[in-house]
Amino acid sequence: MDSLIFLFLVQDGATNGAIYALLGLALVLVFAVTRVIFIPQGEFVAYGALTYALLATGRVPGTVWLLPAMGLAAFAIEMIGKGSRMSGREIATDAATHIGLPVVVVGATFALADKSASALTNVLLTLAMIMPLGPYLYRIAFQPVADSTVLTLFTTAIGVHLAMTGLGLAMFGAEGLRAGPLTDARMEIGPLMLTGQNIAVYVATVALIAGLWVFFEKSLYGKALRATAVNRVGARLVGIRTSLSGGLAFGLAAAIGAASGILIVPMTTVYYDSGFIIGLKGFVAAIIGALASYPGTALAALFVGVVEAFASFYASNLKEVIVFMLIVPVLVWRSLGAVHDDEEE
């Protein structure tokens, strides 16, 4: 094989793999904290990508209306559930996070959405529109069934995925979108040409992973999330609310999804339903990493990216089949492995 092609494929795979790594990490995080197998992760990727692409052309994306709608729904559910037992201060805080925040974001979007807005502005607006959807979604769909089985949570996630895909079509239409690169810089390393977008992907991935590490190791809330993942009962006993850690995990997952979307939309055309397959590839990595190990998932993600790159070069028609079948040996190995204990399921 031509070594240049080899290098090119590895580089291409590493770029995609970096995205899968981010998504895989978010999936592991959400599963560890809430036991939800977070299928709608991919929809956040598509929402992020399309929201950013529309903002880049100066248009106001439909996500801007989804945000207050979901905030309001979450607020209503919260009030119906336990409004009568809440203090005035608690209600005020709740209203601020569920209604005040979306109103501010809507205002900012209309004020700032313009063809001439900088890429950074658009990135920040996109994150501000998508990230709060995570906690709202958790409040609406998952918190009411938080104590049920993994299978019920999983089926709920599938329902959310269906609804979000349909909403994606309503908001963004059936046409795919692509945005300009975040930067036009280029860099040559030997025979390889790295585009600014490649570099942005690597830098952003490393920065996000480092940021997550600092968050989990150093901050009280990061520790609280880890504690919930390690021992749910223990976390409740020290006063960490399940809804708090669930919302936090979903917020991080939504932010990571949106960031991944922003990173890929300059490289490939994204459609309203593209996220699903991208998210599932993050899953392949997470399954190889056993839905538990963060470094394992990141490494597996790079592997998935590289396999995909080679598959699309040598057998492009069977690319998806090859990538998804990667988990078969892992599943076989697991089924032959140690005794599985599903008593608590």
Partner: protein, 588 residues
């Protein structure tokens, strides 16, 4: 109305629909679609609702059968009736292969695995030249029934709904049988089922293949109804829709499948006709509605719509237990004077922690031996090592002349060890009778096909008669037809003992049988165990309650911190200083 008449009446109504005057043709088309979907959803009832295994990949199985039949009829000109068994066989083999890989996986890996192959198989259908790639195959022959062509919706209707009713009835028969009972026990956890010799991995595989074959039947009917085939109806989203039908209709009930299929198909039709008026040319509103409905169903009606509807339908009366030839008893062990159970140097380490430290003791036939000690002394672990639930680090267990050191719970059950659990492991919604009959699983013989086609009645009657006999033996006859979960805790413990007796055991293993019992319940339990001993039964029990043990047992083994600190007759144990020390603690 009599419950027995409901089903024939429903079949009659179904048969009359196409010939009724004034029925619009598209009603028939809708009913055909409902029937096709109901077949797939019915498989999910057995797989998900009964067996607790979730699959999003059922649409792919429809595809296997559909493409097999399409290929064989168009390319080789075979009759569809000949391709039916071939299609089902191909689907079954595909399911067997996928099932062997995925079914043994715990909880969430199975649905994830089904998503992975659901997508892969869909892409594969679209890539294979012989299957016409994305365009698929067309010009497929319609079904022909003794010269009558089933080309029209109103004629194939009969084939589809015959399949739906036949499959539903077979599934109802299956669930009401030895195999079905075992399948229903899958949801209650692996440990209890395997303690009665049920091979859970094999049963899960059977449920998986059964569900796939039903999906295959639907695919075969579909392809000869549409007479063209392409990959679209076999994609993952269709697979998700089938699961949605099962959940919405009620995954725990056979008729939940038909209910769910009808609701979703009708809803989809209505949405497709109504949505252009409401929201312009926006075609995917059904996706949003389905997604939201699925979430709401799980929150507010997790048991599905049929759970409400069935209350309107007439209820079947509890069956009467017919007299039946008794089951064959186990031959008495012939082993001379050797003890029935011999435990030697048994040891279990978890990492650095020694939970059981070289414990040895034995039990003679016809004895009641108790294993006592403070909380955390390693009694339950010892118990699990003996009964095959956990494997020892070293040491041996000999039982009735066999070495059981590394035996599984199933093997222990086969040799005549029957146990109860410290935390009661009954299936709360199943009747006491059926829970107890589960204990006799190994003594029955009826298999899958005998059960589906009701050829198992003699065998089944003997099992139920045995269960009823054991329930009578422990004095719970009046509660026989109640759901096990409705009994008081003390009675549930007794039900577990009846279930264990159904195994025709040589040795009863009882894990804290007196915990949570009232005083008179304890006395009754002691009386029951004493009576069993007089009939020759051997009993090993783990117990915390000293008073209960002292009056009842022949021999006591005391554990503390995983080590045997004393053994002997109750009177001697009571005076033993090491035992007093362990129970009172030195902080005293």
């Amino acid at each position: 109305m009599n419950a027995r008449l409901a089903l024939p009446l429903a079949i009659l109504v179904a048969a009359a629909i196409p010939v009724l005057p004034g029925i619009p043709p598209f009603w028939i088309t809708l009913l055909n679609n409902i029937g096709l979907a109901a077949l797939v959803a019915l498989g999910l009832v057995l797989l998900t609702g009964v067996g607790g295994l979730t699959s999003f990949g059922q649409a792919a199985f429809c595809g296997f059968a559909a493409y097999t039949s399409a290929l064989l009829t168009t390319r080789y000109g075979l009759s569809p009736w000949l391709t039916l068994p071939v299609s089902l066989l191909v689907t079954g083999i595909a399911a067997l292969v996928l099932g062997v890989i995925t079914v043994r996986l715990s909880g969430h890996y199975l649905p994830l695995g089904t998503i992975a192959w659901g997508i892969s198989i869909y892409y594969l259908f679209g890539q294979i030249e012989m299957l016409g790639r994305h365009d698929g195959l067309s010009g497929i022959a319609p079904l022909n029934f003794f010269g009558v062509s089933l080309r029209e919706p109103a004629t194939i209707y009969y084939a589809i709904w015959f399949a739906v009713f036949a499959a539903s009835i077979c599934t109802i028969f299956l669930l009401d049988s030895r195999i079905g009972r075992a399948m229903r026990s899958l949801r209650g956890g692996r440990v209890a089922a395997e303690s009665f010799g049920i091979n859970t991995a094999r049963l899960k595989l059977i449920a998986f293949v059964y569900a796939a074959v039903l999906a295959g039947l639907s695919g075969w009917l579909y392809v000869h109804y549409q007479r063209t085939v392409n990959p679209t109806p076999f994609g993952l989203h269709v697979g998700i829709e089938y699961l949605f039908m099962a959940v919405l209709g009620g995954a725990g009930y056979v008729w939940g499948a038909v209910t769910g299929a009808a609701l979703v198909t009708l809803l989809k039709d209505i949405l497709q006709r109504v949505s252009p008026m409401l929201v312009g040319n926006f075609t995917q509103i059904d996706t949003i509605v389905f997604g939201v409905l699925l979430v709401l169903t799980l929150q507010f009606a997790p048991r599905g719509v049929w759970a409400f509807l069935r209350n309107l339908a007439p209820q079947a009366r509890p069956r009467t237990i017919a007299a039946a030839e008794p089951l064959r008893r186990r031959a008495p062990a012939t082993q001379g004077d050797a003890p029935l159970l011999g435990v030697t140097g048994l040891r279990k380490q978890f990492g650095g922690l020694v939970a059981v430290n070289d414990v040895s003791f034995h039990l003679k036939a016809g004895e009641i031996v108790a294993l006592i000690g403070p909380n955390g002394a390693g009694k339950s672990t010892t118990f699990n090592l003996i009964s095959g639930v956990a494997r020892p680090t070293s040491g041996s267990v000999r039982f009735a002349g066999h070495d059981l050191s590394n035996a599984s719970a199933q093997e222990c059950a086969k040799l005549g060890m029957a146990r109860t659990f410290q935390h009661v492991k009954l299936l709360p919604e199943m009747s006491v009778l059926e829970n107890v009959a589960l204990g006799a699983h190994l003594r029955g013989h009826a298999g899958l096909f005998a059960s589906m086609f009701r050829l198992d009645r003699a065998d089944e009657a003997r099992l139920l008669a045995e269960a009823a006999r054991q329930i009578e033996r422990v004095g719970l006859t009046e509660h026989m037809h109640k759901p096990a979960g409705s009994l008081a805790l003390g009675q549930q413990r007794i039900v577990e003992i009846a279930r264990a007796l159904c195994l025709d055991p040589r040795l009863l293993l009882l894990d804290e049988p007196a915990a949570g019992l009232r005083h008179f319940e304890k006395q009754n339990l002691a009386k029951l165990l004493d009576g069993l001993r007089q009939e020759g039964m051997s009993v090993l029990l783990v117990e915390h309650d000293m008073g209960f043990v002292m009056g009842l047992t022949d021999h006591i083994v005391v554990l503390d911190f995983g080590t045997k600190i004393a053994e002997g007759k109750p009177e001697a144990i009571r005076e033993n200083p090491a035992v007093l020390q362990a129970y009172l603690g030195s902080a005293a």
